[in-house]
């Protein structure tokens, strides 16, 4: 070997060089030591927070929203599970074919999918919410990393637009927006739970960071509504609104004895299962809209006169010459009826007669009756958007106003207030509280009129549907019924509007022992017919005839009791 490696004698290895190099290396390790302490103790909060942002997720555990049923347990609103597809963009790995398939399954364009996945700062984006469990399973079978499902509940309303205004609907976050869904949202929705977890990069849960907060399911709600009567009411009201080309309509049916609302219908309505283009259709007019009730208030005003004054059903009242001057104003009847009994005033709906009776009362007496019946104040029914109506303090009443109030002008009420006021005629003068929820025990009423007055008025109201009355079309085969019509000009921004009317009817059945009270209002009929006896009374008749049979209410009249003379028009009531 030519090569001789050993040359000891000339090699010098300075020891200071060795020490310097060793110190340099050890300094390197010392630096790392310091860096380690910095990262693992001083800087750890920042780093852990960054880590949490990457892989800790708070999962919402949705509470099951309570269902809403009618009084017989029929479903009006129920939640059923659906899946929402979401993604964690930083973890998504998707192939071109997967993207196409995903788009086809969910009906989304590839571009939109790209947009959703582009936001790498966010750990959570919805791809599509509320898809059926079947479809969700298909999406997951594509096996795209970073795409997940979230269980949610979708609300279904089996009765659809028939009960829309009572039940209401929820938004996409399961929050009540209208009706009972809104009013009782807290009760129905329960309490959502949550779970904070660490997930691995493929989305599997590794561990829980905190105790799981178990969701508390919402309570069920049993309404006083009877779905069958609700359907009937809806059908008949819709027919009337359609027939008279009305702008709107509203109807409410009460249990005469308990004050429970059995049906509450408004038109126009909407589909709560798919609440789009619902502008102006969500108003529950029965509760939220006030109107001048017109002559339907006459029965109440006349009862007040009988209660406080010296009037009996057969007391004669002079209504000639068919009009009456009070100061500068004049009150009209349609005809000169001459001398009418009190019963005749009700049957013919004489404004002059009713005004004369009421003017014999003190202002506070009439006011006190109206006030006790609940006009001008909200009811305790736990429902959103309730209007109070308008009852001015009696001290500001002028005589003309006291007179016009006898036939429902200068006072405004909701349809529900009006219907409730009529419970006094079904309960021997006691006013019943209203409930939209099913109640167990009969409520305690409030005596407004004496039993004598209430029963007399009930009997007089039976005359209204008989020949010579204003509401022949309210008659019901097999049952005696009573009621009162109302027709009024609508109140516009500049006073009464000439060509716009509200036709209404409030009645009770069977008259011998009332079970149901119904108030119907047809708003702005446009076919030229607008009297309450023409547009509203037939709705009452049709609903009562089916509902009473459905409830197996014993008949109190022979089957041939319906007497409608063929050529006779309804008596036109004074407006």
């Amino acid at each position: 070997m030519a090569y001789n490696p050993i040359q000891h004698h000339i090699v010098k290895l300075p020891s200071w060089r060795r020490r310097l190099l060793l110190i340099c290396i050890l300094l390197g390790f010392a630096g790392l030591f310091a860096r380690g302490i910095y990262l693992q103790s001083l800087h750890k909060e920042f780093l852990q927070q960054k880590g949490d942002a990457r892989y800790s997720r708070t999962l919402a555990l949705q509470a099951h929203r309570g269902k809403i049923t009618d009084r017989n347990g029929e479903l009006l609103a129920i939640s059923s599970p659906v899946e929402s597809v979401w993604a964690s963009p930083p973890d998504v790995k998707i192939t071109a074919t997967q993207k196409v398939k995903l788009g086809q399954l969910l009906g989304i364009k590839s571009k939109e999918i790209d947009k959703k996945f582009a936001n790498l700062q966010r750990g959570f984006v919805y791809i599509k919410r509320r898809v059926s469990p079947d479809l969700a399973a298909k999406v997951m079978s594509l096996g795209i990393p970073g795409v997940f499902l979230q269980r949610e509940y979708k609300r279904f309303y089996p009765a659809g637009d028939v009960t829309a205004h009572v039940v209401g609907f929820t938004d996409i976050n399961d929050k009540g927006q209208e009706g009972f869904e809104l009013a009782q949202n807290a009760l129905l929705s329960g309490k959502a739970g949550s779970r904070k977890v660490i997930k691995d990069r493929q989305g599997r849960i590794v561990e829980d960071l905190e105790d799981v907060k178990v969701p508390q399911d919402g309570h069920d709600l049993v309404l006083s509504i009877d779905r069958r009567i609700q359907y009937l009411t809806y059908r008949e009201l819709a027919r009337a609104v359609d027939l008279y080309k009305a702008k709107a309509g509203a109807a409410v049916v009460l249990d005469a004895k308990t004050g429970e609302v059995l049906a509450m219908v408004n038109l126009p309505t909407y589909n709560p299962n798919n609440p789009v283009n619902i502008q102006g259709k969500t108003r529950n007019r029965v509760i939220t809209d006030v109107f001048e009730p017109g002559s339907t208030l006459k029965s109440i005003a006349v009862s007040a006169a009988m209660e406080f004054g010296d009037f009996k059903p057969d007391t004669p009242i002079q209504t000639a010459p068919g009009y009456m001057k009070i100061g500068p104003a004049t009150i009209h009847d349609t005809h000169d009826y001459g001398v009418l009994t009190v019963a005749g005033v009700i049957q013919k709906s004489s404004n002059v007669g009713a005004s004369k009776m009421v003017l014999s009362l003190k202002r506070e007496e009439l006011w006190s009756v109206f006030n006790q019946l609940g006009f001008g104040s909200r009811m305790d029914i736990g429902f959103p958007g309730q209007a109070s109506g308008r009852l001015r303090p009696y001290k500001s009443w002028r005589p003309i106003e006291q007179a016009t109030m006898s036939y429902g002008h200068g006072i405004s009420v909701t349809l529900l207030q009006l219907a409730r006021a009529y419970t006094v005629f079904a309960n021997e003068g006691e006013l019943m509280p209203i409930s939209l929820l099913k109640i167990k025990d009969a409520p305690v009423g409030h005596q407004v009129f004496s039993a004598q007055v209430a029963n007399d008025m009930k009997t007089m109201m039976e005359q209204v549907v008989l020949p010579g009355g204003t509401a022949l079309k309210a008659q019901v085969a097999g049952y005696r019924v009573g009621g009162k019509t109302g027709t009024a000009h609508k109140l516009g921004p500049t006073g009464y509007e000439k060509d716009k009317y509200v036709g209404s009817f409030v009645g009770l059945a069977p008259a011998s022992n009332p079970r149901l009270i119904m108030a119907v209002m047809i708003d702005e009929p446009t076919t030229g017919k607008y009297y309450g006896g023409t547009v509203a009374a037939p709705v009452f008749s049709a609903v009562m005839s089916d509902a009473l049979r459905m409830l197996a209410v014993p008949q109190d009249a022979p089957n041939n009791n319906v007497v409608i003379p063929p050529d006779v028009e309804d008596v036109k009531e004074a407006i």
């Binding site: 050993i6 010098k12 290895l13 020891s15 790392l32 380690g36 693992q40 960054k50 880590g51 892989y55």
Partner: protein, 388 residues
Amino acid sequence: MLAPVMHSRERMNAASYDQMLLWVTLILLGLGLVMVYSASIAIAEADKAVGHQSTYYLIRQAIFIVVGVMAAFVTFQVPVAGWQKMAPYLFLLGLFLLVLVLIPGVGRNVNGSQRWLSLFVINLQPSELMKLFAAMYVADYAVRKAPQMDSIVKGFLPMVAVMVLVGFLLLREPDFGAFAVIAAISISILWLGGINVKIFVALLALLPVAIYVLIVSSPYRMQRVIGFMDPWADPYGKGYQLSHALIAFGRGEWFGVGLGASVEKLLYLPEAHTDFLLAVIAEELGFVGVLTVLGLFCWIVIRAFGIGKEAVANERYFAALLAQGLGVWMGVQGIINIGVNMGVLPTKGLTLPLLSFGGSGILANCIAMAVLLRIDFENRRLQKGLPA
């Protein structure tokens, strides 16, 4: 040639080899095995290519360690003088392998780096062996050229030429990390071997320039440097790996989240079982684990320099330079790897010696430690008046 077994009989007098160094080595190998398993379970289970087998990396690392220890045992039998004689030829073999790995079809390309040679069942990474061969070659060179160490033309430039060649080959793969380690070993040995201080200072001055040129010339290196400067600027892109490594440190705190409880290893942190094993150690065992690793590496470096000093005392200059070169190797590669994990150095493809998963790395590290132990073994024999 004497086998260490024979000397176990002399244990009564004084240990014939550095038992502590051996234990430190074995502890690092054992810790590495446990942590490689912990860090790789999720990676292996998610990987179709390894058959979703959770013990895939554990089994292989165990085999590597067994093979490495066996190779170390054989290595220990070779006298240091033998290594000195073989040094130039081993270096040529290393160069040959580095050329071979670049030939398309012969070298295997993984993740854009052509670093592996397929040899039947195992993949050999020549750059790992080259670190050992370079240390031997430069140590031998420094001893041979000792009289010319002051001369630029005769002492310094030939070595520069050799290093440029090695650097050229390594950067073709590319394997910047291996080149950095080999350069550090070579410069350190030249420094210890008495190179002219002026030349050395000039070299140190040129180094930043060279590194800058290398970084700017390659887009992938540039990306890594940017990611290193501020990992939170683009934590889902360039800074992804580093930000996850740092989170692992932060989560570990002082005592760690517990063995096996790392979340970062659940596919968040790439290369958790190789280059970023220390991050998993930091997360699961906390600063205590990191401190242990730092301490053990410091021990190796300090012992290597101590062994070198004793060799100098015995006038065994090649052994002295080689021992210290091996110490620089372990120290520098450890510092770079840990520094990368902690975000103080830009990301390179460098493993943590003796710990990270990797056959060639474990084999080369085991052999290096055996050579170190052998040098010490011969030192002790000479001190007892026995022949080396």
